[in-house]
Symmetry: C2
Subunit: 527 residues, 2 copies
């Protein structure tokens, strides 16, 4: 049962007076439950509990943290239909998507459980002493990664499960040994409360300290701002708009003690279609991209919003087929009236830009809150001169840039803002002729794709979901995959420390059997 209250550690609490409701975009009506925004006192309580919990949680073994993470996954599955139903009522997304995203969420939790149970992720590095070294003896130094402290995670509007309450950020922070305070996304506060309940239950079952998790409701920006500015918070995870992410980054960097903000923000995910590919597979790619652009109403950070090619009949043909294909697809419901209204405003602003032509737009009647897809095209020189054309239109919208020649294509790529992904559609032999274009693209993105679509972000160790600003606030880290644990840790050295007092990861005996770098060699052996 959803109560509308906050979880301050393991206690439900609702002492604040501000309330709000979630919204069903399919029926265009409010949902029933009244949610209580967290008050200043509740925020302080949650942070105090998290700080206390950190003192013990940071030393919890990998095995125990794995139990906790696996139990969260089990408890989320145990929520059954209520979770799926609530997810759909609060997002307008279909049941299949809800089930798929739940699968991704529990997969992420279990991936992090496996990572910390195995244990080598701490990058244990040992440089042994050399008492005979001249001119001074060499001391014994041992290093490993340790958690930063309490972390604030902001729920994402477009991933009510996989990048919200128990999503990638939270799972990675728990795995690292950091308590988490979630600032629940107001659009799906009920989904958030259900998942929070699952986390609280799992924490209690596996003996985690009270305060290892709190869930705070809020429909405005005050709760998030208070959290980010509080000296008890040591890092922040966010997925959302450039405006929102930058505001949090600014708050965090202006603190007396600045803290890292990992904000995964906007991206138009440029796709380059090379001439040979446009010629031989243009129609095929057009069909594939019609699907990618409209997937989930285009509400993905990896949605292909920008396609670049070199002027010619092949590119014209690609644009024509893409335009035909995209209007065949039935529009779908967007997440919230605010999202569809932002989509319509940004789309209209874009369409008003000089030199932009619309080649396709879905014209038929659609239900309220459904997003009508659109395809536009523009000359390379116009795109170069007007950076307004570089902005993201969050929704089922894409723009094809017709470049004069390879040099112009390269210039455009090199002047693009930072992006999450870049894609090359080309024939194998063809790509070799465009090394400069590929090199320029590599310099602007976090992930580069060959003959595929940017939508679909695999959860694995080799994934980079992040990129040069404004794709993310810190390109040195990924937000997806097991390596995202690195955001919440720092390296720590023990010098000449007694063996029996070292953490297990660094003891001579290597009791955990993890991979370590000992005097420059990777080994699982004891010293």
């Amino acid at each position: 049962m959803i109560t509308g209250k906050n979880y301050i550690g393991n206690l439900l609490s609702s002492i604040g007076n501000t309330t709000y409701k979630t919204f069903n975009p399919q029926t265009n009506t409010e949902n029933g439950v009244l949610f209580h925004e967290a008050s200043g006192i509740e925020i302080e309580q949650a942070i105090e509990l998290a700080s206390e919990a950190f003192v013990t949680f940071r030393d919890v073994s990998g095995t125990k943290k794995a139990e906790f993470l696996n139990e969260i996954a089990n408890e989320i599955e145990g929520l059954g239909d209520e979770l799926i139903k609530t997810y759909c009522l609060e997002s307008g997304l279909p049941e299949g998507r809800a089930i798929g995203e739940r699968g991704r969420t529990v997969f992420q939790l279990r991936s992090f459980a496996n990572l910390v149970k195995e244990g080598s992720w701490v990058e244990a590095t040992i440089d042994t002493a050399d008492l005979n070294r001249q001119p001074i003896p060499k001391v014994d130094i041992r290093k490993m990664l340790i958690p930063l402290g309490p972390v604030v995670v902001f729920g994402a509007s477009n991933f009510p499960l996989a990048y919200s309450t128990a999503g990638g950020d939270t799972a990675a922070a728990f795995a690292a040994g950091c308590p988490v305070i979630v600032k629940s996304h107001p659009m799906h506060a009920g989904t958030g409360e259900l998942v929070a309940f699952a986390i609280i239950k799992a924490a209690s079952k596996t003996g985690m300290p009270n305060g290892v998790f709190s869930n705070l409701n809020s429909s405005g920006i005050e709760v998030g701002a208070k959290l980010v500015k509080h000296s008890g918070i040591k890092a922040v995870g966010f997925t959302g708009s450039i405006r929102g992410g930058r505001a949090l980054y600014d708050m965090a960097s202006q603190r007396e003690e600045p803290i890292p903000v990992f904000a995964e923000m906007g991206s138009v995910n440029p796709v380059i279609i090379l001439p040979e590919a446009a010629k031989s597979k243009g129609a095929e790619w057009a069909k594939t991209y019609a699907g990618s652009i409209t997937l989930g109403s285009g509400q993905f950070c990896t949605n292909p919003g920008l396609i670049l090619g070199i002027k010619g009949n092949e590119l014209i043909n690609f644009i024509e087929v893409l335009s035909e294909e995209i209007v065949k697809i039935e529009p779908t419901c967007m997440l919230h009236p605010n999202i569809i209204s932002a989509y319509e405003i940004h789309k209209a602003k874009m369409l008003a830009q000089k030199g932009l032509q619309t080649t396709a737009t879905f014209e038929k009647e659609v239900p309220k809150n459904y997003g009508r897809q659109a395809i536009t095209t523009v000359e390379g020189i116009t795109f170069l001169k007007n950076t307004n054309l570089h902005q993201e239109v969050f929704g089922p919208f894409s723009m094809i840039v017709q470049c004069e020649n390879v040099a112009q294509l390269e210039e455009i790529i090199s002047k693009l803002e930072g992006q999450l992904t870049g894609t090359i559609l080309g024939e194998n032999d063809e790509v070799k002729k465009y090394t400069k274009v590929v090199s320029a693209l590599q310099n602007r993105v976090g992930r580069i794709i060959f003959n595929g679509v940017p939508t679909g972000v695999e959860v694995c160790a080799a994934m980079v979901h992040g990129g040069p600003y404004p794709a993310s606030t810190d390109s040195r880290f990924t937000a997806v995959g097991t390596e995202s644990i690195k955001r919440w840790v720092r390296p720590f050295s023990f010098q000449s420390w007694p063996n029996e007092l070292l953490p297990n990861e660094l003891k001579n005996e290597n009791p955990l059997g993890i991979s370590r770098v000992v005097d420059g060699k990777i080994t699982t052996h004891k010293l």
Copy 2:
């Protein structure tokens, strides 16, 4: 021969009108050469050259980068006596220190050469495709670390060689594949120019692109500010004061595209002397610490400025012996009149704090610019209440805090600002009784030392030189040791990329024979 000019790539340049000279603190006179501050035009030229150089330098192989780094080390050694003489004239430091620091500098360069020649540092990670996976096929994803772009390095006043022109920051950035623009430290601009010449010569000998390195002179803050604010610069390295580091951090975080600033700043490096150790080895530790506090006139970021113990005769005895020992040591010359004047001002401010008692100060006549050491003591409750007492006094100064009991000791530690190091002096069995104190200390520092001194920072893979703010601006990275290369790189993914177009680090054949994580297993094998 020192010209007083800037290196804009491989050309000497002096079009600006502002000039300054370096200073010999031993003779209290200016040195002869006139240095030309870099003008706005020269700054632009250096950045443009660095950006152009990055296009090729980022793809230079590990073997070639190793040649470059080793050649810089050779060229620095080839500078011979002129370098050592200039170093001493510009710093007032003795020849032995100059020779030792040159040794550390070339060791660092060669360590990074070995790291990139071997090649596994890029953390190559491969997740192979699984076309049969349900519900959708798994794509092939391969990740490695790639360089960020042109980096600005600020020379440090207290390390004219090891943390300046070709110091740790520069060596790590070159190793990563980033061009470097050094903002030379005005106190040792001649030493800087000689080393810059060595770098330029090495770059030319090993075929590195022009612009991979520039050296800009300046005695004020404008040149540094212009560099940090420029969109062509992608990261910053700094060693110095909290005020200076924070100013750069603020500039960098307020840019349209914020960039990482790795500033290694202030630290008082708390040392805890436990009762049993004070009893059995108090006099011995006192003598050792008298040496550590005065080493290099206390001008080290790891200088032990704060010693904490529990009230009692043993601690009194420790303070007495330390006070006796420290006045036996002859004061030495500090780096510059500005440094000695800052030392005297901060020391006087500290001595004026209520409740602080001076137990030792060097009273005899000393030459101008020599730093007189001082030892002070204060009650735990006074230290807790007055955070002015927590500030660093850069120089041969230390404060002993007499805590009422273990609880107060723990409270003080937990309320300390972030520190580079923390040290425990204790008998082996004794430490086990102080797990909470040790745990609190661990949470405030980057490196913890058992029965040793914090001065002396080993250059190795397991070293962490950094820590919670304000010890550094980003505790997630170290400034010393081969792992410091991580500051200048970001992870990058290739998805479904043709094998022949992948970088060697990620090709199926593993032509470099590096360690890689393939489907979760560490291996040097080919796929």
